[in-house]
């Protein structure tokens, strides 16, 4: 396949979710531009430092780094990034970012912060999986995405009565270990 035809299809190079210290929460790369983990980390660090001074809280912001377009949006202590090639339609990338941002918002019930994101990492990973498949946009409607990711999520906040006995034990054991670890 000639690269020119591949480029014709809108594509996303990566989706990145960082905390407010620039540490990874969840990332997914679809391009070979960053072959190693350290190359990925360097890119994330670069993008993180370059965007710190900007205010991407009300509207998504945009910049070009190393011939890539990065669109990003921040909320609380979370930072959402979507990267595409510099030939890509900026608004398509922005719609992917919005899809990611909004579906996470729906899934975390508006309580979008680092703590909730880590506690529901499975849902967030599913969410990314539902938005992009191998760089190709799969879905951009946040409600559809959230629906697909959530129907399968285990609601950790569900009351005990709704859990089976085994699950209750598991959850209790987990709470106990957690308090020990503290």
């Amino acid at each position: 396949m000639s690269p020119s035809t591949l480029e014709l299809c809108p594509s996303v190079k990566n989706i990145i979710l960082l905390d407010s210290d620039g540490k990874r929460i969840a990332v997914k790369y679809f391009s070979d531009d960053w072959p190693t983990n350290s190359a990925k980390e360097t890119f994330e660090k670069f993008v993180f430092t370059k965007t710190q001074k900007t205010n991407a809280r009300t509207e998504a912001e945009i910049a070009i780094f190393e011939n890539n377009i990065v669109v990003y949006k921040f909320v609380q202590d979370l930072q959402f990034f979507v990267t595409g090639s510099d030939e890509e339609n900026e608004l398509i990338l922005s719609s992917v970012l919005q899809a990611f941002f909004d579906s996470v918002g729906i899934l975390l019930r508006g309580n979008v912060d680092k703590k909730a994101a880590l506690e529901n990492l499975d849902v967030i990973l599913l969410c990314i999986d539902e938005i992009i498949d191998g760089g190709i946009i799969l879905e951009t409607d946040p409600n559809v995405i959230a629906g697909k990711a959530a129907s399968n999520s285990i609601d950790s906040g569900a009351p005990l009565s709704e859990q089976t006995l085994g699950q209750a034990f598991a959850s209790a054991r987990e709470h106990l270990t957690r308090s020990f670890l503290k």
Partner: protein, 884 residues
């Protein structure tokens, strides 16, 4: 008071520290993964463990082959569970583990079962997983299911199959191509994204069949495409079809333009922008075609969304490079973007304005930029500086305010790259705009008074040494230079000493004073500084007779290539015989191709040895003079850009540079052998000058040996009538002896075969005899030339595509420098005046005023006025135009 404060801190600590993955460790998680093997599966716990595994992978942790295999095997056990959530996690981790072929077999049956399940979620995901991990052999087994899935009524399933098809097409095209009927059906789907994915796949299946793609686009542009993404895709395919259809529909409307234009009224911004971008990218787009696209982009400029503003200003910035006038309507919106919060947008807006601005708006713009510069990062500042540099070259009359701006920002804080960009720009302006020289040099002098970068200081000192003595009052620079000797580090002190010596050598009046200063340098603490001072004192102090030698030593460029000198010095063994620089080979060693390509980017500014445009001429001249046969040809007047004589990617790549001397023309053929198995020897070019009667060949210099991938030069020299712009056509044949090279040993065989290779023809045209030299003030220059030398005539240029095409044709024909930006024709104008300047062979300055008028529909008429120091040159220009 202290208590609540402490409590608050505690809270924050808790929050910051808390993470479900705190203290997570790979070994422990792998242990935990044993729960997958439990006979009584705890779905919730298994999901959590998978999440932990995914977390580790996500953080960059890697599993060894054994670990991955072990996890994979236990994960396959989880297919027993009927828990939906767990199954989703299982799919995810299988994709992440990317199992090997023999492992895939284990899950194949489970996944195939899921593919036929009643649950859509299972089906869609099983398809995606299976297609991700499978190889070709398995694909034939599941092909039937995939074809069904493509036309499945559930959009999620259909999309999953289609997207998998797009990926599989790269590895198993012959299989995927069999699905085109189903894909075609899916293109008609009511589900927006299914349509998008189907269109992408269908296009990729048919990409090599131009006619089919064209048909596809034709039918879809008429129909209704539902999803904005699919519409964007269709726009991209349409532009591709337009591009490939070429210019065969010169006359009428451009095909599909109406479709693109109609997309500008789409309800989705994404589509509007895609269409606008496609229109601006059209080959040879006309102003009329551009206008609607520019209008929507202009609306985006005032959007509340930064992404929209960015996209629009970036596109307009690109348009401004080729069609500056088309963008001027947006100038007011652009100006308000200078204060945009997003600095990328602001920088793009400024550089666009600098491209579209006219002479009268420069001052106002500079005022705005000054405020803006203080709060952007260096990388943006560099972009702005470069834009200002080209603006200044476009409007030389405005050099004063632009030069002031540059000197102001030079004084402000900034990193090395930024400062270097400013200094480079000032240097270029000094070289290209004579009027700017004095003030520019003073700005540089002031800068080195307080410059923290040794590199820049030495470069500037070197530059002052060359340019300073040529100014009206060289003495005023001495103070700045001598200050360096007191205040700087050894490197800068040494170059300051050299610069002083240059002033001493060039300006006799200053010589005694320079001597005093140089003598003081003899007591410097650094060896290099003292050595230089001693050397210069003795060379300058010598007899007047060797004045020329001194100058040569100080200003002459080293005619020996540094690389050769270096290798000779390395090989030199200290002995009775002193090192002799004359024994160092002067021929430029052939460079590997790659390096040559890298040089394609012309170094500019200080980095470029002697000076930017003349540098190539200088180096050519030196190279040519190193060949004894050319030594008596006199001064090189002009060297052309290389002209390719072979198609790209042929066996032998040859281009030619035309060197024009007063009574001679030398063709320099740069030949590259691109066949690794061949060595070429005795390579030369046979030139047939039967269509160039006034030229007679005097000399030919072959290349002895031309190994693979290292270019060599062969020369052919012709004599021609003195000082006349003699033209002619030459046909060329490359002759050589081919020797086979053993690819393993790299040694060539002893016997070679004579062979020849036909090259393209070469023309020597009138433009070869004219140097592109600009003037800063055309009117002054025009009036300073004797009006009696003026020759005026009118010409009909016949039907032309556009006025600007006619202007460019004449500019290229004459090979002269357009002045004051007059090469740009405003859109929709019926007449245009273009000002050109140049130097004719023999060093005669010549100015041309061209008035174009559109007569009737497409006929262009031109009035040509020429003034020159030599009337015969004015006539010659007319002759060129008349015969061109």
């Amino acid at each position: 008071m202290a208590q609540p404060l402490a409590k608050k801190d505690d809270d924050r600590d808790d929050e910051a520290d808390y993470s479900p993955f705190m203290g997570i460790e790979k070994g422990a998680v792998l242990q935990e993964a044993r729960v997958f093997n439990d006979p009584q599966l705890d779905a919730r716990r298994c999901s959590q463990v998978i999440t932990k595994l995914l977390y580790l992978l996500n953080q960059g942790e890697t599993f060894t082959k054994v670990e991955a295999t072990e996890v994979f095997f236990s994960v396959t056990k989880l297919f027993q569970s009927r828990d939906l959530g767990l199954r989703r996690m299982v799919y995810l981790i299988i994709k992440e583990l990317s199992p090997s072929a023999d492992e895939v077999i284990i899950v194949t049956s489970s996944l195939m079962k899921d593919m036929n399940s009643k649950t859509d979620m299972y089906r869609a995901n099983a398809i995606r997983v299976l297609c991700r991990i499978t190889d070709g052999t398995l694909l034939t087994q599941i092909e039937r299911y995939l074809k069904q899935a493509i036309v499945d009524k559930n959009p999620v399933v259909a999309s999953a199959a289609l997207v998998s098809g797009i990926h599989l097409l790269q590895t198993n095209p012959e299989i995927v191509k069999r699905w085109s009927n189903e894909v075609q059906e899916a293109v008609q789907s009511r589900a927006a994204l299914v349509q998008f994915h189907a269109l992408a796949l269908l296009h990729q299946i048919r990409q090599n069949d131009r006619l089919a793609v064209s048909k596809l686009v034709t039918s879809l542009t008429r129909g209704s495409v539902r999803s904005p993404l699919a519409q964007c895709l269709l726009i991209r395919y349409t532009s591709q079809v337009i591009r490939e259809s070429g210019n065969n529909t010169q006359s009428g409307e451009r095909p599909f333009y109406d479709f693109l234009e109609s997309c500008l009224r789409h309800k989705s911004e994404m589509v509007i922008f895609e269409a606008a971008k496609a229109i601006t990218d059209l080959n040879g787009v006309t102003t009329r075609e551009l206008t609607p696209a520019i209008t929507v982009l202009q609306l985006f400029l005032s959007s509340s969304k930064p992404v929209l503003r960015f996209a629009a200003v970036r596109t307009l910035n690109k348009v401004a490079m080729t069609h500056p006038m088309a963008v001027t309507n947006c100038n007011i919106d652009m100006e308000s973007l200078i204060s945009d919060q997003n600095r990328s947008i602001a920088t793009l807006a400024i550089t666009t304005l600098l491209k579209t601005g006219n002479e009268s708006s420069v001052d106002r713009l500079m005022k705005q930029i000054t405020n803006f510069m203080s709060d952007i990062a260096d990388e943006f500042k560099i972009v702005v500086v470069e834009a200002i540099r080209s603006l200044c070259l476009k409007f030389p009359l405005k050099y004063r305010s632009l030069m002031n701006f540059l000197s102001n920002i030079l004084r402000e804080e900034g990193g090395f790259d930024y400062k270097k960009a400013i200094v480079d720009s000032i240097v270029i302006l000094i070289r290209d705009i004579p009027d700017a020289k004095e003030s520019g040099l003073l700005h540089l002098c002031e800068f080195i008074e307080d410059c923290e970068f040794t590199y820049l200081s030495t470069q500037i000192l070197h530059f002052i040494g060359i340019e300073g003595p040529k100014t009206l009052d060289p003495s005023k620079y001495i103070r700045y230079i001598y200050n360096r000797v007191h205040l700087e580090n050894a490197t800068v002190r040494a170059s300051a000493v050299s610069t002083l010596a240059k002033f001493g050598a060039s300006v006799d009046a200053l010589k005694p004073r320079i001597f005093v200063l140089l003598r003081r340098c003899l007591f410097d603490s650094d060896d290099e500084v003292r050595d230089r001072a001693t050397l210069y004192l003795s060379t300058l102090g010598g007899d007047l007779e060797n004045d020329e030698d001194v100058r040569d030593f100080l200003f002459g460029s080293l005619d020996t290539p540094l690389a050769n000198l270096e290798s000779s010095l390395k090989n030199y063994v200290p002995s009775e015989v002193a090192f002799d620089i004359r024994l160092v080979p002067k021929e430029v060693k052939s460079q590997p191709l790659t390096e040559k390509k890298a040089q394609g980017k012309k170094p500019t500014g200080l980095g470029a040895p002697p000076s930017a445009p003349p540098s190539t001429v200088d180096s050519y001249e030196r190279q040519l003079l190193s060949i004894p046969e050319f030594a008596n040809f006199g001064k090189l007047f002009k060297s052309s850009e290389p002209v390719e004589l072979t198609e790209a990617e042929t066996e032998y790549a040859v281009n030619v540079v035309k060197h024009i001397f007063d009574t001679h023309v030398v063709f320099q053929y740069n030949c590259t052998n691109t066949i690794p198995e061949q060595l070429l020897e005795d390579v030369f070019v046979i030139v047939d000058a039967s269509e160039a009667e006034e030229f007679s060949q005097v000399f030919s210099k072959p290349v002895r040996s031309l190994p693979y991938d290292s270019p060599g030069q062969t020369f052919v020299a012709f004599e021609k009538p003195e000082g006349l712009p003699t033209t002619g056509k030459f046909s060329n044949t490359l002759k050589f002896i081919v020797k086979e090279v053993d690819p393993t040993s790299g040694e060539a065989e002893d016997d070679g075969v004579e062979d020849e290779y036909q090259l393209e023809d070469l023309d020597v045209v009138a433009a070869d005899y004219i140097l592109r030299v600009g003037v800063s003030n055309f009117r002054n220059a025009w009036e300073s030339i004797d009006p009696d030398s003026e020759r005026v005539d009118e010409y009909g240029l016949g039907p032309r595509e556009s006025l600007s095409e006619a202007v460019n044709t004449v500019i290229n024909l004459l090979g002269m420098q357009p002045c004051e930006g007059t090469e740009v024709v405003p859109p929709n104008s019926r007449s245009h005046t273009c000002l050109l300047s140049g130097v004719f062979i023999g060093g005669v300055k010549v100015l041309v005023r061209l008035s174009f008028g559109l007569d009737g529909a497409k006929d262009v008429a031109m009035k040509l006025s020429v003034r020159s120091d030599d009337v015969s040159v004015s006539d010659a220009i007319h002759e060129i135009v008349a015969s061109g």
